[in-house]
């Protein structure tokens, strides 16, 4: 059986918004940053604060999202940030193409060989890493509150009313519940195998050997997910899902506040496109204050 995220009703402006508004606004910001390839901190920073404001307005308790934020921090800072800092890739080519003062070199060496090289950390790469992190957080600040603040009963309806087909809408409904279900199965399986003397923390050997030893843990989790998937399909088949155009009982209606937020999202997207493509504003550059500050350190 699929479980849901830790949703609870809160009397907030954010929760009073139509779920479609929330989703469309989030996609507007993501598209505004990615389609015209905005890398200018003067655009990114206001959007970051706008996302942060909306996040805080959702009034989600820290204990509910602590684990998710830890995961996001690791992902964004260590993977995205470190990648930007070391390689400078994943963004505009100007990050690596532009001549930029080298701050220091990071020696990289392939273990058990004599092969190695120095990776230069430049001012440009450093600024790029910071920009990339801010850009990612701007998007995640809008995404994280969604499962905690949108009633799980209206995911499907929201997508259907946005024009998706019955099948796609219900698939999205199920997909939203897949992750918390996976997490639950993960914990139960871990407990079941620990009760058989299995200690994941004591795995040893090389990577292939460790992967092999993870089988008692990975296989039941994957199997459980597969079985759950099959069960859901059977249960839906037995109640005639997908055989006729579906009636969706839940109704959604836009209010004035929804039109305001939708308008804001649309305006941001259009503004970013116009600034970038019309005026050439919004591309990547290293601001002078940052160069001066970091080189003066």
């Amino acid at each position: 059986m699929l479980v849901t995220w830790k949703y609870r009703p809160r009397n907030t402006f954010i929760q009073r918004l139509d779920p479609r508004t929330r989703l469309i606004f989030m996609f507007s910001i993501i598209l505004a940053l990615t389609v015209p390839e905005i890398w200018d901190f003067r655009i990114i920073l206001p959007l970051f604060f706008l996302s942060l404001t909306l996040y805080l307005m959702a009034r989600i308790e820290w204990k509910d999202v602590r684990r998710v934020w830890i995961f996001i921090f690791i992902l964004v800072i260590f993977i995205v940030g470190l990648n930007g800092l070391l390689s400078g890739r994943g963004g505009p080519s100007s990050v690596t193409n532009l001549p930029s003062p080298v701050l220091f070199n990071v020696p990289i060496k392939i273990p058990f060989t004599d092969i190695g090289w120095d990776v230069p950390i430049t001012v440009s790469k450093t600024w790029f890493a910071l920009t990339q992190i801010t850009r990612m957080f701007t998007m995640t600040l809008l995404a994280i509150p969604i499962p905690y603040t949108i009633d799980p009963n209206i995911y499907g309806t929201a997508f259907r009313r946005m024009g998706a087909s019955d099948k796609v809408s219900f698939t999205m409904d199920l997909a939203f519940r897949f992750l918390p279900t996976f997490a639950r199965d993960f914990i139960i399986t871990m407990d079941a195998q620990r009760a058989r003397g299995y200690e994941i923390e004591k795995l040893n050997g090389g990577i292939p050997e460790r992967l092999r030893k993870l089988a008692p843990f990975i296989i039941p989790v994957v199997m459980q997910s597969t079985v759950t998937g099959e069960e859901v399909i059977d249960a839906m088949d037995l109640r005639a899902f997908g055989t006729a155009p579906r009636t969706w009982l839940k109704q959604l209606t836009y209010a004035l506040r929804d039109y305001f937020i939708l308008g804001l999202g649309f305006a941001i997207f259009v503004a970013c496109c116009v600034l970038k493509w019309g005026f050439g504003f919004g591309g990547y550059f290293v601001p002078e204050f940052f160069s001066n500050w970091i080189l003066g350190l």
Partner: protein
């Protein structure tokens, strides 16, 4: 002439992945408003037959199908799914497998929504179904937070809104506490009385007999062994294969003159030293969450055969997870052989206490049953010779000999469950803890392994069972407690409300009913004969005390 709701003629099916026939030459016919009980052991073909009736075979499960299965004269395989779903409503064994929506109202409305019915029609059907099952109070609840009994009722309401004329109920009582099972059965009976044709596939035959099914279809190895009225059951059905009401068993044993042969008695173990001690234990999942355990004090001693009874969602599993160290108390402490579980790893505790989880799919991973059983002993550092002996004896104990090289995940649910019991058995822990060991099991199989674990069969000791110091099982099956326990814990209201000998705890009918435990015919017969027996006994053993 009016066509019968269901006509099955020489139905045979073989799954693509299995060498043997799952069902063979099955033939029967059902009348409108008839209630048919289908019973049989694990893997006897009951579920396959159910899948042939609801159309999942051949649509979702591929294989070789021959013979006829007609719904109102139409071949099932020729019917479109929406048509099919409005004729046969299926309630699956585990309501968790059936529920797809996240809230009760959406779940009940799911079928009619899929049929594209108008809003008003859907709302009317949902309201009617909720009223019919008295679950209006659940309307806004999240489905995953419901108790087992509530989930089953919601799943049934979801089926009823499709307005089927045939109800196919596949072991609907498996996860229900006795009171919830009783309520569900009453609902099935009244649906049949209202003219719906009801097919009840159920292991809990004695429970199902309470609502007086019109006929019983008993299957063995894919074939019909008996099809007829329930009045002939005491003579037609082997009471060692199907759990019959205690007076029927007594009558049958007397008729067959097997009184001495079938007599069993409890292992009358002396209570020894304490193995697990709960001291003033409170537990909650977080600061904002309600208490699940409150002031629990319990000592499990050597020689205890403990049955834990109580309603769905009372916290029984939470209690035993403290003993294995998977959960730590928020107040108080749990000691395993004198050591605080906070200072021990789960793996260390596993040497003392083996815990069989409720769901087999959370445990099974290995390519063969043998490798699955070797996993625990290997983790605990057994020698290869000891592993071999443990695995072999465990397989015999749970009646899985011959399945050594089968992939565990390819076995039936009942066989998977027995594999998990064997996997923990092979670890030779001192205490065996089982969560609903009989769920999805047929009577013959669970009697076999419970006899071995609780050592009730005189003289038959094994290296595994001799090693056990104590057994604890959580169950909804009161007769399991009557037959195998020498101590009963009644759990409710977050703590142990009664703890004592079965005859002391189970004689208080009022208290049992308060905690959703319904007295059975076996309990009643034992209470009636207690002056003569001096202990609780299985039905066969009571025969010699019945004049």
């Amino acid at each position: 002439m009016t066509q019968p709701p269901l006509l099955v003629e020489n139905l045979t099916f073989k799954y693509r992945t299995r060498p043997e026939l799952a069902i063979e030459n099955v033939s029967f016919e059902l009348k409108q408003g008839e209630l048919l009980l289908i019973a049989g052991s694990s893997g006897c073909g009951k579920t396959t037959l159910a899948r042939c009736i609801n159309g999942l075979i051949p649509r979702s499960y591929r294989g070789e199908l021959s013979g006829k299965a007609l719904l109102y004269g139409k071949e099932i395989s020729s019917l479109e799914i929406p048509e099919m779903a409005q004729i046969v409503g299926t309630l699956l064994q585990d309501p968790e497998r059936q529920i797809v929506a996240s809230n009760v109202y959406n779940e009940i409305a799911f079928g009619p929504e899929n049929l594209g019915l108008p809003h008003d029609e859907i709302i009317m059907r949902v309201d009617q179904a909720m009223k019919r099952l008295n679950i209006e109070y659940l309307r806004e609840r999240e489905t995953f937070n419901l108790s087992g009994g509530e989930k089953q009722k919601v799943a049934l309401a979801g089926v009823l809104t499709m307005n089927p004329s045939i109800l196919l109920l596949d072991e609907p009582l498996a996860s229900l506490d006795p009171a919830s099972a009783h309520e569900a059965l009453q609902a099935f009976r009244s649906l049949a009385d209202e003219g719906k044709t009801v097919i009840l596939v159920e292991h809990r035959v004695e429970d199902a007999l309470q609502i007086k099914p019109d006929r019983l279809l008993y299957m063995e190895a894919g074939k019909i062994k008996y099809l007829g009225g329930i009045d002939k059951l005491p003579t037609e059905i082997d009471h060692t294969q199907v759990k019959l009401p205690a007076p029927w068993v007594v009558q049958r044993v007397k008729t067959l003159d097997k009184v001495e042969e079938t007599a069993r008695s409890h292992k009358s173990a002396e209570r020894g030293e304490p193995l697990v001690v709960f001291e003033d234990v409170d537990f909650r999942y977080g600061d904002d969450y309600p208490l699940i355990l409150q002031n629990v004090n319990l000592t499990i001693n050597r020689g205890d055969l403990i049955a834990v009874l109580g309603p769905n969602g009372a916290g029984k599993s939470t209690l035993v997870k403290h003993a294995i160290g998977l959960l730590k108390p928020t107040r108080g402490r749990v000691l395993v052989e004198g050591k605080d579980t906070r200072e021990m790893s789960v793996a260390q505790i596993a040497r003392v206490l083996g815990y069989v989880f409720q769901s087999p799919t959370h445990m099974l991973y290995a390519p063969t049953v043998t490798e699955e059983l070797e996993f625990g002993p290997k983790n605990l550092g057994f020698t290869p010779e000891d592993i071999k002996i443990s695995v072999s004896e465990s397989l015999v104990t749970v009646n899985l000999k011959g399945f050594d090289e089968y992939p565990p995940l390819g076995l039936s649910f009942g066989q998977q469950k027995r594999t998990t019991i064997a996997a923990v058995l092979a670890m030779r822990s001192k205490i065996m803890v089982m969560d609903e060991p009989t769920a999805g099991q047929d009577f013959a199989n669970y009697t076999r392994f419970m006899d071995a674990l609780c050592n009730t069969t005189n003289g038959k000791h094994s290296i595994l069972t001799e090693n056990f110091a104590s057994t604890l099982f959580i169950t909804h099956d009161l007769d399991l407690a009557v037959t195998y326990a020498n101590r009963v814990l009644l759990f409710g209201d977050k703590h142990i409300v009664a703890d004592g000998k079965p005859e002391d705890v189970l004689k208080d009918t009022e208290m049992l009913l308060k905690y959703r435990v319904r007295p059975t015919s076996l309990l009643q017969l034992n209470l009636d004969l207690f002056a003569k027996t001096g202990e609780f006994l299985p039905a066969e053993s009571l025969t010699k005390f019945v004049s």
